[in-house]
């Protein structure tokens, strides 16, 4: 097969996180998106006036790109507010690269912000305004109950244990302890996860992502232009998307996600496989999700994910570096975490991740998940020499 023309055509040239954690009631979600956007453009050595492609998604703004464009004063010639939940921004990266390669825009800004913690400390999701007459009478707690159903079936079919789930939270905390920006940095043990408050069995509060405020932004342009900018370009080598369902009752086999397809598409475009990936950023909404994605993205066989994460194997010093920023479990989770998987992947490829930096990172994988294991987008990013 000839190489995919999109492979390496576009590169990430700027990334930033906004203020994270709890910003207080005077700050709006758009303030955080704009803060991150300005910092990511400064990182790239570009100005807001250079942006002609705008990509955003939000649980607050149904027409997210319109709100963000107005706020920033950007009048884009290419605009994309695709909403796949937390998978949106990895999908936007794919879309931005395609738009840039097609000449529809030159400098793409992907940005997101949320103040769900300051707003009341509950996960803000579109589903809170999207009634579900088939589910609401049974009072599931959205979205944790849906992930709990997947975890329960994974345990039943494949022998995964609560201790193995807890290992994912403990590994994330280990990484967060190396990240000064992380929200939760106190030590955490498997025993503490198991003893923490049960929310929807088998998932406890410590098996669950944080509820924080926060924003992030990513700037993308052609790799040709990227070579002239101030930071080392991080090329998009591969990208893929997939979704098979929206509601958990329509998922089919709850132990296999559409990451199998999004990942296969990203690998095919990149001409790479799991063995080529040096560091992974997997959307960890709940402790079951990195286990599913390690299996579905080919890092182990189906059913081996629990054993794969046990014994600190994905923690600092382990065999495979997963979620090196501390993830949604311990770093930040403003509701749609996917953009932070890109930001951390880029930082690892650039070699600027401080104490948590892995040595010799050439290729990083970012995987976004949205809805209830519904939307999937996978990106493979690499240093210039990998193109």
């Amino acid at each position: 097969m000839p190489p995919d023309p999109l492979r390496g055509a576009a590169s990430v040239v700027g990334v930033a996180e906004s203020r994270l954690g709890e910003v207080g009631p005077a700050v709006a979600p758009l303030d955080l998106a704009a803060e991150a956007a300005a910092d990511a453009l400064a990182d790239a050595g570009l100005r807001i006036a250079d942006v002609d492609g705008l990509f955003s998604a939000s649980a607050y703004y149904g027409m997210a790109g319109l709100n963000l464009g107005e706020y920033l004063g950007v009048r884009p010639q290419y605009s994309d507010s695709t909403n796949m939940g937390g998978a949106s921004f990895v999908a936007h990266l794919h879309h931005a690269a395609a738009a840039i390669a097609a000449g529809r825009c030159e400098v793409a800004l992907i940005a997101y912000g949320s103040t769900q913690r300051s707003d009341g400390g509950r996960l803000v999701s579109l589903s809170s305004v999207e009634p579900s007459p088939l589910e609401d009478p049974y009072r599931p707690r959205y979205p944790i109950t849906m992930y709990a159903l997947a975890a329960a079936r994974h345990m039943h079919d494949l022998g995964t244990t609560r201790e193995q789930l807890a290992e994912v939270a403990v590994a994330a905390r280990g990484w967060a302890r190396l990240n000064p920006a992380a929200f939760m940095r106190e030590p955490l043990t498997v025993e503490e996860v198991l003893a923490s408050r049960m929310i929807s069995s088998p998932l406890t509060v410590r098996d669950s992502c944080l509820v924080t405020d926060g924003g992030g932004a990513v700037v993308v342009t052609s790799t040709e232009r990227a070579r002239t900018l101030r930071r080392p370009p991080v090329a998009l080598l591969g990208a893929g998307e997939a979704h098979w369902h929206r509601s958990i009752a329509r998922m089919g086999d709850l132990t296999v996600t559409a990451a199998t397809e999004s990942g296969a598409r990203a690998y095919a475009m990149a001409g790479l496989g799991p063995g080529d990936v040096d560091v992974l950023q997997l959307y960890d909404a709940f402790t079951i999700t990195p286990i599913l994605f390690l299996e579905d993205l080919g890092f182990c066989e189906k059913g081996e994910g629990g054993a794969f994460v046990a014994g600190g194997r994905i923690a600092p010093g382990g065999e495979l570096a997963v979620n090196t920023n501390g993830g949604g479990l311990s770093h930040t989770h403003p509701g749609m975490y996917g953009i932070f998987t890109i930001i951390e992947a880029v930082r690892q490829v650039r070699g600027e991740a401080g104490e948590r930096q892995q040595s010799g990172v050439h290729v990083a994988l970012a995987h976004g998940n949205g809805g209830v294991l519904s939307g999937h987008a996978t990106a493979i990013l690499g240093a210039l020499e990998t193109i």
Partner: protein, 101 residues
């Protein structure tokens, strides 16, 4: 007959739930109305710990070939098991819930 209503595709035979205007497998628009006998098997289960108490949420595979979210009643919410054979019944909130068969 105490189960939920569903549809059966007249082209490929797929059981369709919830109601729609075409078959998601083959696109056929001729769908026959049907009512399930309400017998099924628990596909997955969770006990939801809420402020007002703990309740069960389950996914049930109906014998006719479709899945629905529901709850298994009459048991400790955490004692419901995957693979359990269950039967639908309306509860006093007029919800369709399941009991061990």
């Amino acid at each position: 007959m105490t189960g939920p209503d569903y549809q059966r595709c007249e082209q490929c035979g797929t059981a369709i739930f919830p109601r729609r205007v075409l078959c998601p497998v083959c696109g056929e628009r001729r769908l026959a109305d049907a009512t399930s006998a309400g017998r099924g098997i628990v596909y997955s289960t969770t006990a939801v710990h809420a402020r007002e108490g703990t309740h069960n949420v389950a996914l049930v595979d109906l014998d006719e070939g479709f899945r629905m979210m529901s709850a298994v009643a009459g048991l400790d919410p955490g004692a419901v098991r995957i693979g359990m054979v269950v039967q639908a019944r309306a509860d006093d909130e007029d919800r369709l819930v399941f009991h061990a068969a």
